[in-house]
Amino acid sequence: MPGIYIHIPFCKQACHYCDFHFSTSQKMVVPMLRAMQKEITGRLQESANEETATVYFGGGTPSLVPPDELARMLGLLRENYRVQEDAEITLEANPDDLNDVYLRRLKEIGINRLSIGIQSFREQDLALMNRVHTAGEALDCVKRAQAAGFGNITIDLIYGIPGLENADWKKNLETAFGLQVPHISSYCLTVEPRTALAHFVQTGKVKPVDEQLASQQFRILMQRMNENGFAHYEISNFAKPGFLSRHNSSYWSGEKYIGIGPSAHSFDGKKRRWNLANNAQYAAKIQSGETYWEEETLTPAQRYNEYVMISLRTSRGCDLQQIEKNFGAEKRDYLLGEAAPYLLSGDLLREENILRLSEQGKLLADRIASDLFIV
């Protein structure tokens, strides 16, 4: 049951922390959508006639795209990819784009889940990150979306922002809970190389992310989510029962997905492929029929590594029986050997055949995964 990801590579303006692929010039939106439609029809054989359970419009800023164009895209998918009646169809949206008319149209064309990039309810945080919207718009848009009939809403919140104290963070979380949304994704601000933020930190204009505060805020996050009935089902994702992101969960359970648009990634179970991360080149190559992607076939060791890395980030954990079944008993023993120090330190917990990160282990998920790798 493949998921389909549609990457909309345009934004009104660049957030200072963002290293995703997008352009701030919107002249090319329509020609780009045509190129992506050509990609959609061109990759039909990859779906192997399986049904499609999820469609996800990500970006960039998908809410920049006129509803008619989104409808056209969805129509094309429905015609060709056996999209299930009750498929989860998510659109990432910026608060300032979500006016009543737009919301109504989204509802009409079949979008049934919204991912709203709120990030913070504090003006100074939004300014520091160069977000388009205001704190007020953030609150209002969620209420408007709910009024328009969207029950399945997720919001993004960022912590570890320079200047965000623990008390501020708690307040942000309370505001979020007050909105009664069933899903929250929460990320620590990451200074990615070659972003405006990285430059500001380098030049001293912005203080670097305070690691101690960031880790405290992560703990606050976990605690408050738990108290409010959200399950911590992935490092950065929290959901009320029944509201886990089906699309994103497919990434974390090793399922197939097809990614459409510049820089979009696809996975067919063994092979990862990624499209050119340049709007003009992508569109030109699609038009001329040239190869517009690169790909890599995963070795068993790489598949093992990915499984370990991803599964440990989820509440389902890393299943030793799965490891044994897919990679052999020897790899299972290897994994346990490498895990021993972390089991001892309490960063990893073992329950029967499942390895999970403890609360403290979640703070060190990357280095723990790396240590369990085969290289």
Binding site: C188, S215, I235, S236, Y251, A264, H265, R313, R367
Partner: protein
């Protein structure tokens, strides 16, 4: 014998020795233009890349002048101070030398010390002013320098260009006319001076020599005078572009011998080959067992590769007799070898050859010189490793090796050079002006002070206009202490260094700071300390890592993140465990790159 001319070339690195040598080979038709590969004489890859000759070689040429047929033997010499003994034996095999001086750069320290060596051996010097076609050439100024130095006549200096071929004929004529033929008694017992040897994987060791007296015959039994070993001369011959076998190599000529020797250590440069049937009474003067000057530990990056490293070292030693080693164990690095090198360049070459020729990645520890410890009981201990140092209560005093350093630089850099040498605990013993703007400075310096970064610093403070050469002089008593490094209270033996007490504080501070940069943060705080005995002289802390988790891990992030974490794990596999702290291999060489 009257028509044999044996000569070498004295030149500073980059002054065009190899190019000019190639021109001589071409002009004498020793090599056809078509076969000409640039810089034929340097046949190791490493030599070509570094543009220097590491091992000396020899080649024979024929030349006709005024109706007479001459045989030339060009004996190539290594151009680095680490190999000065080999240079001295090459020079001892010649009757003449071409002194090549770059017309733009003038005379350098290396050139002068080799020139003195040549003059000491009564060699006839033919001065050649090279690269005169360069726009920056200052032929008249440099000619003044040469006249000053040699006391020769101005018109004796040959202007040449290796690039254009200018002056090559004049050089060939000068070789015939000015260099005397070898002396020697063909009827006397055989005495042949070994000036070099190479390893050939099919034929074993090939030794190069000059026949001083008598002659050497194919098939005869020969004896190496200083080692006492006897061999059968399976093959003798002369050195053209390839080896050319002969039945006999006569007095004054240069040749090779193959006698089934497998180990380079049996063939010592400077040794005398004589006939077993009719041996000479005395060996040729000047034989020395070359002693390593610099010592360092070499360890396999992967501790499982110890045996493979041993095998590689054995192979390497087959053609590098000056490399010495013995197994040692380090708590931090496991099993490895304490190696002795002729100098820092030699150490780098060995390390690079291990990597290139044997595919061995190694950790090299802080290099040190050989110290002499005197105990209260009157014992004398040679310390090639700081860990050999006797405990404080047993130690009477320590001596360290000193060198005499010759530095030639421009007047404007004299102050900076003197300051550098003073900082390195040197004393100035002489200062003389070679020309109005070139000064020769002579210092006495502890050898231990120049093994780290002296040469790099010298080059940088003089903007490259300083040349440097040294000879060991003696051992002197010094106030040396052993500086230990502790990581979370565990002493790291591989990081210990012997250092003068006056510098221990600063050195300890710098090394702690450097290690703080190089050791990645871990889940707990790490203390890095420098100590003399029980006294801590410097400390740095590496704070614990609190958070190491990627926020987003969706479709496109997965392979990128996986690759990053795979690289991280690979790096970690190469790290060494000190207590519970993971230390990257770069940390063990940290001291080499302080400040």
């Amino acid at each position: 014998m009257q028509h044999i001319r044996n000569f070498c070339i004295i030149a500073h690195i980059d002054h065009g020795k190899s190019t000019l040598a190639d021109r001589l080979l071409q002009a004498t038709k020793t090599i056809s233009d078509r076969d000409m590969e640039d810089q034929v004489l340097d046949d190791m890859d490493l030599e070509k890349e570094r543009g220097i000759t590491i091992k000396s070689h020899a080649i024979q040429m024929n030349y006709e002048h005024n109706g007479k047929k001459y045989v030339f033997n060009l004996i190539d010499t290594p151009g680095h101070v680490d190999f000065s003994y080999e240079v001295s034996r090459s020079i001892a095999s010649c009757e003449g030398a071409l002194l090549i001086v770059d017309a733009a750069q003038g005379i350098q320290a290396q050139t002068i010390s080799n020139l003195y060596l040549a003059l000491g051996n009564d060699l006839e010097i033919i001065p050649v002013l090279n690269k005169i076609d360069l726009p920056s050439a200052e032929p008249e100024v440099v000619k003044d320098q040469i006249v000053d130095l040699l006391g020769c006549k101005r018109e004796e200096i040959i202007s040449a260009s290796g690039k254009t071929g200018l002056g090559v004929e004049s050089i060939l004529e000068a070789i015939c006319e000015r260099i005397p033929p070898p002396k020697g008694d063909p009827a006397a017992p055989l005495q042949a001076l070994i000036f070099d040897s190479v390893f050939n994987s099919f034929r074993g060791i090939i030794a190069y020599y000059k026949v001083i007296n008598g002659e050497i015959h194919k098939g005869e039994k020969v004896k190496f005078f200083n080692t006492g070993h006897e061999y059968n001369a399976d093959e003798v011959g002369i050195l053209r572009l390839s080896l050319e076998p002969r039945d006999v190599v006569s007095t004054g000529d240069v040749g090779y011998i193959i006698s089934g020797i497998k180990d380079a250590r049996e063939v010592k440069v400077g040794d005398t080959i004589t006939s077993s049937a009719r041996p000479c009474e005395k060996g040729i003067q000047g034989f020395e067992d070359v002693k390593p000057m610099v010592f360092a530990g070499i360890y396999p990056v992967d501790t499982d590769d110890f045996e493979e490293l041993r095998y590689s070292m054995e192979k390497l030693q087959l053609n590098d007799a000056s490399l010495t080693w013995e197994p040692e164990a380090s708590a931090a690095l496991g099993f490895g070898f304490r190696c002795g090198f002729l100098g820092m360049l030699h150490m780098e070459i060995v390390q690079e050859r291990l990597e290139r020729e044997f595919n061995m990645t190694v950790i090299t520890t802080v290099p040190n010189v050989s110290y002499i410890a005197h105990t209260t009981k009157g014992e004398v201990i040679h310390m090639n490793n700081p860990s050999d140092m006797p405990i404080a209560t047993m130690l009477d005093f320590i001596e360290e090796p000193y060198i005499k350093a010759n530095i030639i630089t421009k007047t404007e850099f004299v102050g900076a050079v003197i300051k550098l040498c003073m900082d390195k605990r040197g004393t100035i013993v002489n200062q003389s002006y070679l020309t109005t703007d070139r000064v020769e400075l002579v210092f006495e310096l502890p050898l231990g002070e120049i093994v780290f970064d002296f040469y790099d610093k010298l080059k940088s403070i003089s903007k490259g206009y300083a040349s440097f050469d040294y000879t060991p002089i003696d051992y002197r008593q010094s106030d040396l202490v052993k500086l230990d490094i502790l990581i979370n209270s565990e002493q790291v033996d591989a990081l210990s260094a012997l250092i003068h007490r006056s510098r221990a504080h600063e050195f300890g501070k710098k090394i702690c700071e450097k290690l703080k940069e190089l050791i990645p943060r871990q889940q707990f705080q790490i203390a890095i300390q420098a100590a003399i005995g029980a006294k801590i002289v410097a400390r740095e802390n590496i704070s614990a890592i609190r958070k190491d988790v990627t926020a987003k891990c969706y479709g496109g992030d997965i392979s990128r993140k996986r690759k990053l974490l795979e690289k991280q794990k690979e790096g970690k596999k190469r790290m060494r465990q000190i207590g519970s702290v993971e230390v990257p291999q770069s940390a063990f060489m940290a001291v080499l790159k302080l400040d």
